[in-house]
């Protein structure tokens, strides 16, 4: 990771204090961070322009959203903007700089620490309702609800992306991909039909994705012949996700935002991870966004690359 012209928290002060100092010392004109929500868990991305606005600043266990994509717009405004980047967000940031989607000179990247973010949906999925407050108690969470106190393991309700954090030794991020690869073709088909038929085409995965920054998406272009707003049949349910995954192939940093925002909890990251796994196996390990200059695997080639029939020979049942 390149560290030139970046803010790093050397003195280990709180993130809120860092944010304050940056605005106070005029190192940036604006600061992109998170703003306290209505409840304790619904923090929103926000731009802070002065110290009094920072009263609403928050950095806690519910700041999972990746701020780098907002910079596509924000870095084109006047003045310098500081942006808080968790370790995983840095990859998206680098990738966007590499693709010239962020105007680097207008941004002050600030690297902040993260111990893993919580997923309120996962907590709800455990059947915990009427959540009022959460306190971290070692590996356990004490949850105060309208229906009395509950507990759950912190590990069980981490955001998907935090389970295999790139900056920590974590589990095997391709574990589920391998499981699906091991299924028969029919099983794989059934699996994805069941998942993708939940899709409501809200476009949240596309709009949140730091790799999806086309000025005009092919799915919004009436002349493309595929700009259908709703999934009117099973083909369209698949088509949208296939094209989207493929379009970010080699550029996807595996930030996991698509899965985080999907209102239907479709494990969209599995498609991206499958592609990443293939790229690694065919063309050597590559992490998009590791730096902001190297060429991605689909924009270069080797003379002795594998032939496409390798797909026929490997993985899965027939």
């Amino acid at each position: 990771m390149q560290n030139a012209d970046r803010e790093i928290n050397k003195e280990k002060i709180s993130v809120a204090e860092m944010a304050k100092q940056i605005l106070e010392q005029g190192r940036a004109d604006r600061l992109m961070g998170w703003k306290r929500g209505e409840f304790f868990y619904d923090n929103s991305p926000a731009v802070f322009e002065n110290l009094s606005e920072l009263d609403d600043f928050v950095y806690d266990l519910f700041c999972g959203s990746n701020l780098s994509k907002f910079l596509v717009k924000e870095s084109r405004k006047d003045g310098k903007i500081a942006v808080l980047l968790k370790p995983c967000d840095r990859y998206s940031f680098n990738q966007l700089v590499k693709e010239h989607r962020i105007i680097k000179d207008n941004v002050l990247p600030v690297e902040i620490d993260c111990d893993g973010m919580l997923d309120i949906d996962k907590i709800r999925a455990l059947g915990i309702k009427g959540i009022k407050k959460i306190t971290v108690d070692g590996d356990q969470l004490q949850i105060d609800t309208v229906y009395g106190p509950k507990t759950c393991a912190r590990e069980d309700v981490l955001l998907m992306k935090c389970l295999t954090c790139k900056d920590r030794v974590g589990g095997d991020r391709f574990e589920l991909v391998k499981e699906i690869e091991a299924m028969s073709s029919v099983e794989r088909y059934e699996f994805w039909r069941s998942e993708l038929s939940k899709c409501i085409r809200c476009n949240a995965c596309r709009n949140v994705c730091p790799a999806c920054t086309c000025e005009k998406c092919v799915f919004d272009n009436d002349k493309s012949g595929i700009a259908n707003k709703a999934n009117t049949d099973s083909f369209e349910e698949s088509l949208y996700h296939m094209i989207r995954a493929f379009h970010v192939a080699g550029r996807c940093t595996d930030c996991g935002e698509c899965t985080r925002v999907c209102p239907q909890n479709i494990p969209l990251h599995l498609i991206n991870r499958k592609i990443i796994k293939d790229l690694n196996e065919f063309y050597g390990e590559y992490q998009a966004g590791e730096d902001d200059f190297s060429k991605g695997p689909l924009t270069r080639f080797d003379l002795d690359d594998v032939e496409p029939d390798i797909v026929m020979e490997r993985g899965g049942n027939k």
Binding site: I180, E181, S185, V186, E187, R188, Y189, E190, F191, W192, V218, G225, I226, T232, D233, S234, F235, E236, S238, L239, M242, I243, A245, F246, A249, I271, K274, I275, D278, L279, F282, Y283, P297, L298, T299, F301, D302, L303, D305, V306, E307, P308, D309, I310, V311, M312, G315, G316
Partner: protein, 150 residues
């Protein structure tokens, strides 16, 4: 629909590079080598021109198999186009396989302008595979297959 009762007539789309494979098809034709009529050739300037969208579009409109034919690696008219196509298609086909689409429905082959015989063999072979697989039901738009009626 009672497709089983009807004889299966596949529709196969072949994207052929203008400089090699399309000329290969020509040569196959002038050499009176047979290849199946169900193969619809779409001429593209280079195998690299084939956007993954084209492949999916072909399946959407009812293709049972899609084959991309380009110059042999090293022989690209534009020097490097087919190398990129090779990476791209490998990845695409692997992804389609991951979605549970039969992997035999997609193929890439390199056919030069001098290989009329190879063109005919590849196409016959691919068509045979598709015949064995039967109709593509996993990746096609039903609306394109059914007539519009009241």
């Amino acid at each position: 629909m009672s497709i089983e009762n009807k004889e299966f007539k596949p529709l196969i789309v072949a994207f052929c590079c203008n400089w090699c494979s399309y000329a290969g098809a020509d040569l196959a034709g002038t050499s009176r080598l047979a290849y199946p009529a169900e193969i619809k050739i779409i001429r593209v300037p280079c195998s690299c021109r084939v956007n993954p969208m084209f492949v999916l579009r072909a399946f959407q409109r009812g293709a049972d198999g899609v084959i991309i034919a380009g110059c042999h690696p090293g022989d690209c008219h534009y020097t490097t186009g087919n190398y990129y196509a090779r990476r791209r298609m490998t990845l695409l086909f692997s992804m389609l396989d991951f979605f549970g689409i039969e992997k035999e429905r997609t193929r890439v082959d390199w056919v030069s302008a001098a290989e009329g015989v190879k063109f005919s063999t590849v196409m016959n072979d691919f068509s045979k595979k598709i015949h064995e697989l039967g109709e593509n039901r996993r990746l096609g738009d039903l609306r394109c297959k059914m007539p519009i009626e009241k």
